[in-house]
Assembly symmetry: C2
Homo-oligomer: 330 residues x 2
């Protein structure tokens, strides 16, 4: 294993120390229990949004803490759920009098620990579960579909609505609506290597890829021979559309997400391939996001995500956001 680290047990804390230094203008990082909050937390008059999950998916979720998106993120150890006390401590730091919305990716450990925290929260709370991965039903870490890169879309749109003053029930309904309108599918060209394990999570032959891979390297639909980008995009967009069933002419958001080991040049090439598939289906790409947002350590590969949009969702997508990983508007 070759990584830019010191001792394996210090990877998360040392990485967060660097994150805090790099973005001191945006966030504050607390340790024991570990969480990341907006510099200006608690923000009066808004529902507090908290997400989190295992580390190794950076910038998800800490990179989305800031104005217009999350109030707090709770990073667990690599590919390990955060504990309920992390969520409780984060909630204490960010909650005002309008309640707390938890945005949780559908993995059994995350669901259980966020649920335990929710039961102990003193004020009102609600949870949005994301499960946008159309590849498989049930997987290594979860029952039902996995929550993957579409979580970023949910967090951005719900974050904008929270900033605009929406109440807890409205935000929960909005988050669930965005999740239903969103489908994702990934492909891995290589495995990732978890620092504490020290060897690749899975083995792939020199010309093999894992189609439908999960963001922890979980098995996907099938292991196949490497195919051209256009052919991969065709299969992934077909699977996504079979799930979210966009109408011809409908505006969609296309998100091409890198897994951490794939250069931007290839991600842009996949934008072209995916856009052609959308055009073939009569879909209008109204918004486009490309880059490494929901990663899997050093895994090479990418995921494609589509979200069916309408005027309200586009307005929330376009609203200003000021985080370390997404930044636009005033």
């Amino acid at each position: 294993m070759k990584k830019l680290i010191n001792a394996v047990e210090d990877v998360l804390s040392e990485s967060l120390e660097g994150f805090a230094l790099a973005h001191a203008d945006l966030v504050r990082v607390a340790h024991e229990p570990t969480f990341v909050v907006r510099r200006d937390a608690p923000v009066a008059g808004k529902v507090a949004l908290i997400s989190g999950g295992g580390s190794g998916h950076e910038p998800l979720h800490a990179g989305f803490v800031g104005a217009g998106m999350l109030d707090a993120a709770c990073p667990g150890q690599v590919f390990t759920s955060p504990t309920p006390d992390q969520v409780l401590a984060a909630a204490e730091a960010v909650a005002g009098d309008r309640g707390v919305l938890l945005i949780v990716k559908n993995y059994s450990g995350d669901v259980m620990n966020f649920e335990m925290a929710a039961e102990m929260l003193p004020g009102a709370s609600a949870t949005v579960l994301t499960n946008d991965d159309v590849a498989v039903e049930g997987s290594t870490y979860t029952t039902g579909r996995r929550g993957v890169a579409g979580t970023v879309i949910v967090e951005k749109i719900v974050g904008a609505a929270a900033e605009a003053g929406a109440d807890l029930d409205t935000l929960k309904a909005l988050g669930e609506r965005v999740n239903r309108a969103t489908g994702s599918m990934g492909v891995a060209l290589t495995s990732c290597t978890v620092p504490a394990v020290g060897r690749p999570t899975f083995d792939l032959g020199a010309d093999e890829i894992e189609l439908g891979v999960g963001i922890h390297g979980e098995p996907g639909r099938e292991r196949v021979r490497l195919a051209p980008a256009d052919a991969l995009a065709e299969q992934m967009i077909a699977a996504i559309c079979a799930s979210i069933e966009p109408r011809a002419g409908e505006p969609v958001l296309l998100h091409v997400n890198g897994f951490g080991g794939t250069p931007l040049m290839e991600l842009y090439l996949m934008v072209r391939s995916a856009a052609r598939q959308c055009a073939d289906r009569g879909l209008t790409i109204a918004r486009l996001l490309v880059g490494n947002f929901t990663t899997s350590l050093d895994m090479a590969g990418c995921s494609l995500t589509l979200t069916r949009l309408d005027d309200e969702l586009i307005r929330f997508w376009d609203a200003p956001v000021h985080t370390s990983a997404l930044r636009w508007g005033r």
Copy 2:
């Protein structure tokens, strides 16, 4: 070779097609000859800034085209200099009556082709050569020091000054001053693989790294055994400081740059390691930039860059920038 591509000969054009789709609000991409310009080019009343070089370093340079930074970028094929006609066509698209400044990384092919273009340009022009890589004097592709990640710092600061109305001579002097104040050094954990070659550029043993590597996988200072992040940062910051000689107490910009195959989690960890080295030397990190900005295809590893700052440079660094890869301010 496993990459998200179609035919090898179409990698650049198809990637740029995706780039144009993803950032249609910011840029326009021209083909044959190939260049990328600001959507609003030519911008009246300012010196036009043009950079470029071989592809495979994305987001450098096309990702820095936009308000407050470059007016145009000329991407060559992967690790191959752009041709003079690309530079000429870009200049025709962006030049106003205040001249053209070319920002060129010090590689023999780039220097020659930009020089040929400069000789044919109808109006006034000047060139800033960047050579911030302190690792080696002379290398595979060049005589003298290589231009690497510090080029982004030069482009940002000179871009802000150009936007503020500075004239050609002032910008050239400013760019050369920033270049002199800047030093970088890289370390590779793996090789990169050029699509048209199909195999790794160099071989590294399972526990070997290349200290001082160039951004095309050129040899560095020495091939050594993998060391902890803190030890790597110590050697790199020492080499940089021996070159740029910052005074104790002086404000510096620290740039931790990923080479494309290294996850953000490790880059943040390197921020911590590098920051400690700066603190040990009494340096004040006044500004910090972390992410994949000057990449080497899928190479794993990173570079560290320091720039000695003063109030003027900080003001230009903080000025608004609106490009696909760097974005802040209004």
